[in-house]
Symmetry: C2
Subunit: 478 residues, 2 copies
């Protein structure tokens, strides 16, 4: 339950009792340049990359440069009982950074340093505002890589991707963000600073708070430092595309590849709607009659990659692929990836609004899920293009619609409800990689039941009893 | 803070106000055969594999067969405010299962079924009382394996190893238990049942409760079902032993192997004390003058393994190994592993009491740690043999002593304090794989500070406000 004084403060703040003094205090703390209050600045921080979400202007945006400043900001938030929304680049797809209860948007973009690359222990320690790609650029000369690769890798920050536990195309073989976060420094809701985890590969000292903070979407603490695990970069890769006239054949191919103990770095699928849309957009000669295209990349040591690529090609043939293209050069590889990379932009240009979901099912249930998505599209008379990470069961059904069309949006909302219902029925989960945020908070009880939700709420209230940190997200009240 | 009624209940129980009625209720629930109260039974459940720990007789031991019975046991524990200690085989090394406040020992050994092997999704779902090795035996025909391999793999249960987050010899390449637990069913302290995680490779739906329960040592909930990730078993392996007259040479070898992007499945070290003790015990021709022996095993696809084995051999030579033995047959492989397998039993027979620690440091700090251990042994006039998982920085300094010798035990306790002090100073952690339990609870603040400890305590009290679940462990009050 929200404590009553929080509401009081909220009402006071609405009436501007609080906004002026907190802004004065923030300016005293950070200097005028780091306290943004113009309407333009507030609008820019009122939304994120998520479609079909309410937006709200924050009272103020702050851009601190140090952890010590963040501690003081948290103390001010406590003093004025004003919420804080920590934010990187705002590329998330769950409404995870929307300042729905007004208050302070805390931009981490000035804390963007690489603090250490420890090649011997295979770790890097960075500040949360660092863009993911910059970490990979910095460790590449050591022959190392940081595997998590959300689509927004060139704009999203490390802090944002840790808070959301980003996935990406390499999840099947390499796992997701949580598998690479070894240690964190976190400012708690009361302004205390804790360090959890560290540089040791093995660590069972107390509760695994590191993994609890990863994916907690800024609702349990503010991440101020990240120690990430690196791995040796693969020396070689082989990419191929296989075209199928039948969804089941594609599904059997996925099953047989993994059944033959080949774990590709990426194993992506595009369905017919996506194929037709991409072809219409790009004119790259995709087979518009195909029911599914699989894009498969194996990587590692050259000898192994060549052997695995052969196995994969054979499995595609055996399962009746109509066409298999194996890239022989880097240029050909880029060509094959064009279709996948164009999937979202191509779908997004068809209609004004793109509702991108990430319902996820056990790998073996992918054909059932794709068939169910087709039926849902038909039932609600909607266009749904589906693409995504078939290898790990993480699909992206993408509804092409128009937020202005109230009647259609009603059908969209019903379709989304049904997508999650089916995913859960198939043993899946609400979100494979986008997170819960505001977008899926209402579905959470479907997956966890009242008891499970209560466990999450108890943890939230134990660590942030006044709901100051990113309210309205996951179990936070908006 | 403990609520006052808990103390009241405790005092009442001491005076046997409570013991009789709870036993009657338990017999009603489970039948006489599943409620053990003889002195022999109580003694058998009063300790675990940890040396130098207090032991305490529980009031009663129960051996339920179903989750529903466990829910009812928890309700009784609430009714009588009596603690519950969930227990598998009791092989842990942290005092994690000692019924220090009396109450109910809940043995999970009757819940020992494999519920499902899902080869297509690479998962297995099991009950917590299943012995780890039995899972591996069952999945081997599918060409799969469950990688976590604590030394006690043939006796420890899945539930115990999940609760303690066991490590083992394959941690460097394959990770530890937490990396393989995808979903759990848990009975909470209030008797509610929650299911967290599931079979999807990607899952970011709400807080990662699965990882929070793994390693929580039975203090946050009672695990009643486990969904584990399986991986294709490696088809080939190559094992070698390298002998070094100088610790730094061995350390440089470890650094160079990983620097050359070879990640062995196991990379173990034995120090001079351990080598001499094993040789004295086994007479297998170990070089008793050597400062360190490295045991290295690479596994995977045959072509790669052969290539990696060559690289490792060359690195050992380059770093001045006095002798390198490469196993050519399975029998030779077993021969090489004899020394490592004999390390603990050999050390354990020297003196009546074996204090086995698992302080862990970043890999690059292993030489510093081993040197510090030598100095500590000298300073306190103790025999410390060190062996362990050099590849992941997880060492096992083993103090050979006698619990009856009060004066020596005082020196042992000071030495242990200093071992943890050094490990933390080197950027390490209190426990790499044994857990905190009772044994290291007093050191927890050294690693996390007051603020970090407070975060753990808040989570504990949010989920188990009456400290009914395994009190006295981690942040629980004993």
């Amino acid at each position: 339950m929200l404590p009553p004084f929080w509401f009081l403060s909220y009402l006071e703040r609405e009436g501007s009792f609080v906004v002026k003094p907190i802004i004065d205090d923030l300016i005293k703390l950070l200097g005028k340049d780091n306290v943004l209050t113009t309407r333009e600045d507030l609008i820019c921080h009122s939304f994120d990359a998520t479609a079909d979400m309410p937006s709200e202007l924050p009272d103020v945006v702050v851009t601190p440069h140090t952890k010590e400043q963040i501690v003081e900001i948290v103390k001010l938030a406590n003093k004025y009982m004003t919420p804080i929304y920590t934010r990187g680049s705002g590329t998330n797809l769950s409404g995870g950074t929307i300042p729905i209860n007004k208050g302070i948007v805390l931009s981490m973009l000035n804390l963007n340093k690489i603090l250490e690359i420890d090649a011997e222990n295979l770790t890097a320690t960075v500040q949360p505002g660092l863009v993911i790609q910059r970490l990979n650029d910095a460790v590449a000369p050591y022959g190392l890589m940081y595997p998590p690769d959300p689509g927004t890798v060139t704009t999203a920050t490390m802090g944002g991707s840790v808070a959301e536990c980003s996935g990406g195309l390499r999840g099947l073989k390499y796992g997701v963000t949580k598998h690479y976060i070894m240690g964190l420094e976190v400012v708690m809701a009361d302004g205390s600073v804790v360090r959890v985890g560290g540089k040791t590969v093995k660590n069972v000292t107390g509760y695994d708070l590191t993994k609890l903070f990863v994916g907690s979407e800024g609702t349990l603490g503010i991440i101020t430092e990240i120690t990430a695990k690196l791995i040796p970069a693969p020396e070689y890769r082989k990419t191929m595309m296989a075209v199928f006239s039948d969804l089941d054949k594609a599904a059997n191919t996925i099953r047989d590849i993994i059944g033959n103990k080949v774990i590709p770095a990426t194993l992506e699928i595009l369905d017919n709607v996506t194929i037709r849309t991409v072809e219409n957009f790009m004119k790259i000669g995709l087979p518009v009659q195909a029911e599914a295209i699989l894009l498969i990349e194996v990587d590692g040591i050259k000898e192994v990659v060549l052997k695995e690529a052969e196995i994969v090609e054979e499995i595609c043939k055996k399962n009746g692929a109509d066409e298999i293209k194996v890239a022989q050069t880097d240029a050909e590889r880029d060509g094959l990836w064009t279709a996948r990379r164009a999937a979202l932009p191509a779908l997004a240009q068809v209609k004004p609004t793109t509702v991108l979901e990430d319902a996820t099912v056990p790998r073996s249930k992918i054909p059932d899920m794709i068939k169910a998505l087709r039926e849902i599209a038909k039932k609600y008379n909607l266009t749904i293009g589906t693409f995504g990470h078939a290898g790990d069961g993480n699909l992206h059904p993408t509804i092409l619609t128009n937020a202005e069309d109230k009647e259609e949006m009603e059908r969209v909302h019903k379709a989304v409800d049904e997508i999650f219902e089916v995913a859960l029925k198939l043993g899946g989960t609400l979100s494979g990689e986008h997170g819960i945020g505001m977008a899926k908070a209402k579905y959470l009880e479907w997956e966890f039941g009242k008891a499970g939700l209560e466990v999450m709420r108890k943890i939230k209230e134990a660590l942030d009893p006044n709901y100051l940190l990113n309210p309205g997200k996951i179990v936070g009240r908006g």
